[in-house]
Point group: none
Chain length 254, copies 2
Amino acid sequence: MQSLPIRFVLIETSHPGNIGAVARAMKNMALDDLVLVNPLRFPDPEATARASGADDLLARARVVGSLGEALEGCGLVYATTARERDSYYRVVDARTAARRIVAEARAPGAARGAAVLFGTERTGLTNEQLANAQALLRIPANPAYASLNIAMAAQLIAYEILMARQEAEPPPAPARDAPLATPGEMERLFTHLQQVMDEADFRDRTQSGTHLMQRIRRFFNRAELDGNEVNILRGILTAVQNRRRTAGAGQRGS
Amino acid sequence: MQSLPIRFVLIETSHPGNIGAVARAMKNMALDDLVLVNPLRFPDPEATARASGADDLLARARVVGSLGEALEGCGLVYATTARERDSYYRVVDARTAARRIVAEARAPGAARGAAVLFGTERTGLTNEQLANAQALLRIPANPAYASLNIAMAAQLIAYEILMARQEAEPPPAPARDAPLATPGEMERLFTHLQQVMDEADFRDRTQSGTHLMQRIRRFFNRAELDGNEVNILRGILTAVQNRRRTAGAGQRGS
């Protein structure tokens, strides 16, 4: 996946474990630009441990002494917040913000990218820090317990950014052992099943024959059977028929 | 926010910290039904520490000894996966799955809810565990580094569930005559089918017995049968058995 100029900026983070977890969350979602403003402890073995396979991203993280430095080269800046509304700033939900961020990062000829700011674990961003952002980004949450862990917040925003990037791309076709059964194969399966039901004198008390068969068709169709699976089912039906015919032949032959 | 019957099931989780982080992630997104199948260490101070303000949810988490017990009372079951596609199951992205989960949990008169399964940190879910799900849930991620921490995965899914709840127009739940079949009803269906296959001496040339039954389970699970549909299938199986027994009795009696 191509790199986009989208930066996460962590300000005065207290727990190195959280820095590592943010690095992993970013790499999981194909982001790679992490900047740390005055982290309390960094580098730190706890950060490396939590980064897991994203230690490369952590090693490339830049440590700077001021928010101004961290934002150099950025255009659009969102500040994360737990507030639902604010007197001064637009509060945008994470999904909407992510779409805007991706559009900005992709804008042709734009030398600038976008940044997302994360404040300290205990107190978030100060008003002074907020003043560097064009808008606030809020993650929808349980109003009774809206305080997310910082790495969780980074994970959710990174995910929404990935989702926004993929919105234009078509989803891959499902993989299968064998192609989906053809309508003809399904028809033959239903005919075969009907035969076995007739031979067994199966009558559903609650529904008429056509209604019942329609219903059976529906749930087999819902299963999206492939050709091999149809063969397994028909094998079972044939085994049931052979067994009964053998028994029947024995009876008649006696 | 009203409680919905949506359950997260963690199977054999190794790190108690992850259990605590999942509890917090769920409460942040207004979910409250957590079930733990054979956790390695629980309760544990690390779980409590990571749960932060969600210690109430952690205290109410149920610990059970089997996946079957964990799924009691659930209809729709999604298993989390990192696979992009699968030969046997539909792979649904987290957003689509969340909409479906919410629709199912809200379906009028449905006593039953939905469950999401999470495997161990190192190896995920086994094929046997997967065979309890109707579909796989995948979180879109960086193809070069797609392995998410379990608590992060839970956070993202819980978030998508909250987002789906907040969407103005939830998609209608699929119309059904009856609620989704319970895990117990499905178990009895598979046992019954196995009996009929044994009685008919059905042997699949290409696959071993357990492999075959797993495959059959998978496509019946994919069909998302309701209780009436299970009854129709079992009615057919019973008719087949009776007919054969009558024929056999006639044979022996002659």
